[in-house]
């Protein structure tokens, strides 16, 4: 409940304020969103599993976003930015899918 509230608040705030992202950070925004999505689905699954923890959620969220951005940044500097982004997206995508599958099992008992 409180998490949904936070999400709603964040979206509304973002739409209203429309904060400007520095152009140097803009390429890492989509990958950060995907990493954050992974952390959020992981947290939801943990919540349904009954093992949710605030601190772990914060740490996993921040580290996910930072590491994903860092990997892509490093790839950009090495000239393999596109390939590394693809790798990050694939790994995160698989995680998201398996987490969502676990969540679905919890919710529908199927």
């Amino acid at each position: 409940m409180i998490a949904g509230l936070g999400l709603l608040l964040g979206v509304v705030l973002g739409l209203l304020l429309q904060p400007q992202v520095p152009p140097s950070l803009q390429p890492y925004l989509p990958i950060a969103v995907v990493a954050a999505l992974d952390a959020v689905f992981g947290a939801l699954r943990a919540f349904l599993d009954g093992i949710f923890d605030d601190k772990v959620f914060v740490v996993s969220f921040v580290s996910n976003v930072l590491i994903a951005a860092l990997i892509v940044y490093l790839g950009d500097k090495l000239g393999v930015g596109g390939q590394l982004s693809t790798g990050v997206i694939v790994v995160l995508g698989i995680r998201i899918f398996s987490n969502v599958a676990a969540i679905r099992r919890h919710l529908f008992h199927a």
């Binding site: 409180i2 998490a3 709603l8 950060a32 599993d49 676990a102």
Partner: protein
């Protein structure tokens, strides 16, 4: 496939299990707190920003597309215009070429006409068959009458013209200008100058070589029929002047040196 299996198996952060294992039974209910609220707020913000950015970029690419379309249209219109221009210029070139070839055809006929006239006038060198006549003074000539006179040469040349010679040159031993034949034109003068004979103000001395281009088979016979021819036979017989005519297959006569006109001009009507 070990890596994929690993990723699928460990899709949930192990920290959750780790922390919950450390937690003692029934310690406190697992409820998301204010930290989760802040993180979710952050997530929402991130999603909103990313969405706005993508939405911003889409119209940009749309306008880019529209811009490109208009550019393509403008450029292809320009290409069409250029193509039409090329066609027009090519048509111009064709007409100009036609005019040019016509002009050159006229020019060619003019230049051939000029060449033909030049042969007659003496402004161009000529080549062809003809006769060579060598005349000389009588050996040990006692008086001027036993030498070849300018009038004798005049008679000889006039007789050659009368016999059908088309071009005549006199090649005496030129004293001043080297041994180049002197082409005779309508304005050429053969004169007596002291003891020498001058042709167009160039002194000649015996033996005189007269080359004439014409029909080598007819020229000697027709020459003999003329009054000049009979005069020369008389000169041969009476004074012992030497006269020798040979037919030549190939003669080359140079162009005349002087052709300038000082007074005669083309009438206004014919220009």
């Amino acid at each position: 496939m070990g890596l994929l299996n690993y990723i699928t198996a460990h899709s949930l952060d192990e920290d959750y299990a780790h922390v919950s294992a450390q937690r003692t039974e029934g310690d406190r209910p697992v409820r998301p707190g204010s930290a989760a609220l802040v993180v979710m707020l952050l997530f929402g913000l991130l999603v909103a920003i990313a969405g706005i950015r993508t939405a911003h970029n889409a119209p940009v690419s749309q306008t880019n597309h529209a811009e490109l379309v208009t550019q393509i249209k403008a450029r292809s219109a320009k290409v069409d215009a250029r193509r039409r221009q090329i066609e027009a210029v090519q048509a111009d070139i064709r007409t100009l070429q036609a005019q040019y070839s016509q002009a050159t055809a006229e020019g060619q006929s003019l230049s051939t006409q000029l060449g033909r006239l030049g042969v007659r006038v003496g402004s161009v060198p000529v080549h062809g068959p003809g006769v060579r006549i060598v005349v000389d003074d009588a050996p040990n000539a006692p008086s001027a009458r036993y030498r070849v006179q300018a009038t004798d040469l005049q008679v000889l040349v006039n007789a050659l013209w009368l016999s059908g010679a088309e071009a005549i040159a006199i090649n005496g031993q030129a004293k001043s200008f080297g041994a180049e034949p002197e082409r005779l034109t309508a304005r050429s003068a053969i004169r007596e100058a002291g003891s020498a004979i001058t042709v167009d103000y160039r002194s000649l001395s015996a033996p005189y070589v007269i080359t004439a281009i014409g029909n080598p088979n007819q020229l000697p016979a027709r020459f003999a029929d003329t009054r000049g021819g009979s005069t020369w036979f008389d000169l041969q017989a009476a004074f012992g002047l030497r006269f020798h005519m040979t037919s030549e297959e190939s003669l080359t006569l140079p162009a005349a040196h002087r052709l300038s006109l000082h007074f005669a001009t083309t009438p206004e009507k014919l220009r």
